[in-house]
Every structure is written in C-alpha cells, then in structure tokens.
C-alpha cells in the first residue's frame, strides 16, 4: 500500500513530531514482535469500542453541519462505524470482555474533545479532525503485516477500502481548507498518542 501521499500531505507535514508519536506505539510494536500481553489487548479492545461509540456521535453531528457533496463521504464513514461497533461487540462477546466497562480517563478526554468540537467548530475543521482520527489508524496499523493472531485486526485498518476512504477524507480537507484545521488536527494526534500510551500502560 502506498501511504506516502498521506505522510506527504500538508496537515501531516506541519504536525512535525506529533505524527510519529501518534502512529508508532509500543502496543503496535508488541503485536509485530508477537509479544502483546493479553491485558493490553483486552484494554485496547474495550476502550477502542468506547472510543468508536463517541466517534459515532462526533461524526453524526459533523454530518449535520457538512454541506451536501462532502456529506456523502461522511455518511459512508458513519455506516462503517456502525458496522465496526457490531464487529467489536462480536469480538468482545467471543472473548467474554465487558463492553459496559467505564471509559478510561484518556478515552474519555478524547471523546469529550471530539464531541465538544463537533458542536463548536466549523465543518472544515471537523473534516481535518476526522481525517486525523482515521489516517493515524491507517498508517499505524499499516506498518504491520496482516499475519499472526491479530491478522484480522491489522487488516481491518490497513485494507485498500479503508485507505480509499481516508484518501477521500484527505481530498475533502484539501477542498475545504480552513485556518483552524491544522491546530485541531494536531490536537487529534496528541490524543492518539495518549490513547496508545493508555492501551499499553493502563
């Protein structure tokens, strides 16, 4: 997969070291090395599910503020999140994980930031934030080969269809440039970094 176009985008370039910090994580390195502790995987799955629930609210509000042509891409993204929630529920149920667990403070801060921003920021800025949420996952997981016990998880966020969605989001950001886009894109990267740290350290 060619990820260069994302890494060379203006938003990523201007984020400096935040980009690397948001896409490289001990959690991912441990999957690659086949040394991921069960406890970390459990924490990640539950907290990522709770995050996606919050991201669904963010996206629903963002869709309502976005003009029609751009809205189409976001609506497809919302439908994908709905399927992702089903998928998480199935994975958790198989493993006996409790998805009613409370959100970790790090997850909570990320979701509060997204939802508060959805209501207070213009849609162009929200596009940049959504791009940040998705492109970090795409690039983070794409650094791994989809093999081993977590192959299905790796493939979920590194497959071509997901990359195409992220590319459409990048196109929208380029079409709807806004002075506030970079600042909140950077903030998303900071939250991504904290989220990965939480999955690893608890």
């Amino acid at each position: 997969m060619i990820l260069g176009e994302f890494e060379e985008s203006t938003l990523v370039g201007a984020a400096g070291s935040l980009w690397r910090e948001a896409t490289e994580a001990p959690f991912l390195a441990a999957i690659r090395a086949g040394l991921l502790p069960n406890e970390a995987f459990h924490r990640w799955l539950v907290q990522d599910y709770l995050f996606v629930k919050g991201a669904t609210t963010f996206l629903a509000v963002a869709i309502a503020k976005t003009p029609r042509p751009a809205q189409k891409v976001l609506i497809s993204g919302l439908a994908a999140l709905d399927m992702e929630l089903d998928w998480f529920e199935e994975k958790a149920s198989k493993r006996g994980f409790d998805l009613n667990a409370p959100p970790h403070p790090t997850c909570r801060r990320y979701v509060d930031f997204l939802v508060a921003s959805a209501y207070t920021q213009p849609f162009e800025v929200l596009l940049g934030m959504l791009y940040g949420v998705e492109v970090t996952y795409l690039c983070g997981w794409s650094a791994l080969e989809p093999t081993g016990p977590y192959a299905e998880f790796i493939d979920r966020w590194s497959n071509d269809q997901f990359a195409q969605y992220v590319r459409r989001l990048l196109d929208l950001c380029r079409q709807h440039v806004h002075a506030g886009q970079q600042e909140l894109f950077n903030e998303v990267l900071r939250h991504e970094h904290e989220f990965w740290r939480m999955t690893w350290k608890g």
Binding site: T57, R108, R109, D112, F113, V115, A116, Y119
Partner: protein, 207 residues
C-alpha cells in the same frame, strides 16, 4: 436530597481537594506567587467555558423560572471573571495569551460536551461540584484568615453569602430536575475529579 447524597458519595475526592497542597497553601498563605498566577490564568479559561455551559443549560429549560436561575448563575460567573481580570492585572497575566493546561482542557471539554449534547439534569450535575466545592473550601479556609492574608479576596469571594446563595439555588435545581441515575452520578463524580486535577496543575507546572 440528591445533591446531598452526591456530595456524600464523593467525600473522598472532596477531602483530597481540601488536603491538596495547593489548597493548604491558599489556607496558610504560603502558596507561591507562580502557582497562584498559573491557577488564576487557567481558572479564567475554565470560567469562560462555565459561562457558555450556563447559557446552553438555559437554552434547554422549558420552565422560565429555571432559565432565570441560569441567567443569575451566568451573571455570577461573569462577576467571577471580573475578579480574575483584577487578579490578572495585579499579577501581570495577559489572559488572552494563556494556553490551556491539559487538566483545564479535560474539564472544559467535558463541560462543553455535556452542555451541548446531554440533558439539563446532566449539565447541572456537571456544574454543581465546582459551586459546592468552592463554597465548602471558602468556608473552611475562612477560619484560617489572618490580617493581610494574601488570599483574603479569594477566600472572601467563595465564603460570601452571595456565593452560597447561588450554590444553594443550583442544588435546589438539581433536586428539582434530576433523578438519581448513573448518568447524573457519573457527570457529578467526573466533574469533582476534574476539580482535583485542576488544583494539581499549578503545582506541577513550574514557570
């Protein structure tokens, strides 16, 4: 009364706030100038979010008497902001250039998320801890006052009759509007924890 049971359920966090080095420093007057400066600047950012949350709460009121109360609370918060502007001028802080501490962002983004997205009951539950805690700290610290105490104004504001009145009215509204449910308890408890984090930030951020 719901406001009393929530206060009791969170007694451990409230005690941690009272015993926090920042609050002890306010009480005995030994808090460093830099820590107070940092706190005032962050609190001004917090109060701006508080004012917005009151406005959003008012917008969600079907009962005009409730909306009137939020109008009064908003006026109270705006007056607090004036107090901060006074401190800021004395302390040489340019409030327009202040960046939010992560503890401030966590608290304000939580408040704004609840204010925009959740029910009136949850908004009140998220806003009441600040009022109750500051009234409690104000009255507890009032006993420590001595002539020319450096934080006399701060302690005086939060132990005043006017502040108590606003706090009591918000407690009344919580009891009137909210039911004892997990969402309300969670909003209250998280806000109280944010208060504790807010006191830690000035001690962890040397200039």
């Amino acid at each position: 009364m719901l406001h009393e049971s929530l206060w009791r359920e969170n007694a451990d966090v409230i005690r941690s706030c009272l015993e926090h080095p920042f609050v002890r420093g306010l009480a005995d007057g030994t808090l460093s100038h830099d820590a107070f400066r940092y706190y005032v600047a962050q609190d001004a950012l917090f109060l701006r979010a508080f004012v917005r949350a009151y406005a959003l709460a008012a917008a969600k009121c079907a009962d005009l008497d409730h909306a009137r109360l939020f109008h009064e609370l908003m006026t109270g918060a705006l007056n607090e902001l004036k107090l901060h502007a006074g401190y800021a001028a004395q302390l040489g802080i340019h409030l327009t250039h202040v960046k939010p501490d992560p503890a401030t962002s966590a608290y304000t983004e939580f408040l704004l998320r609840v204010a925009w997205h959740d029910s009136l009951a949850e908004i009140i539950a998220a806003m009441l801890p600040c009022m109750q805690l500051y009234w409690y700290l104000g009255t507890e610290l009032a006993a420590s006052l001595y002539p020319q105490h450096p934080f006399e104004d701060w302690i005086g504001t939060y132990s005043s009759k006017e502040f108590k009145q606003l706090c009591t009215r918000l407690e009344w509204l919580l009891d009137e509007v909210a039911s004892d449910c997990p969402a309300v308890r969670d909003a209250y408890c998280y806000a109280m924890k944010c208060e504790l984090g807010f006191f830690s930030a000035p001690m962890e951020n040397p200039p």
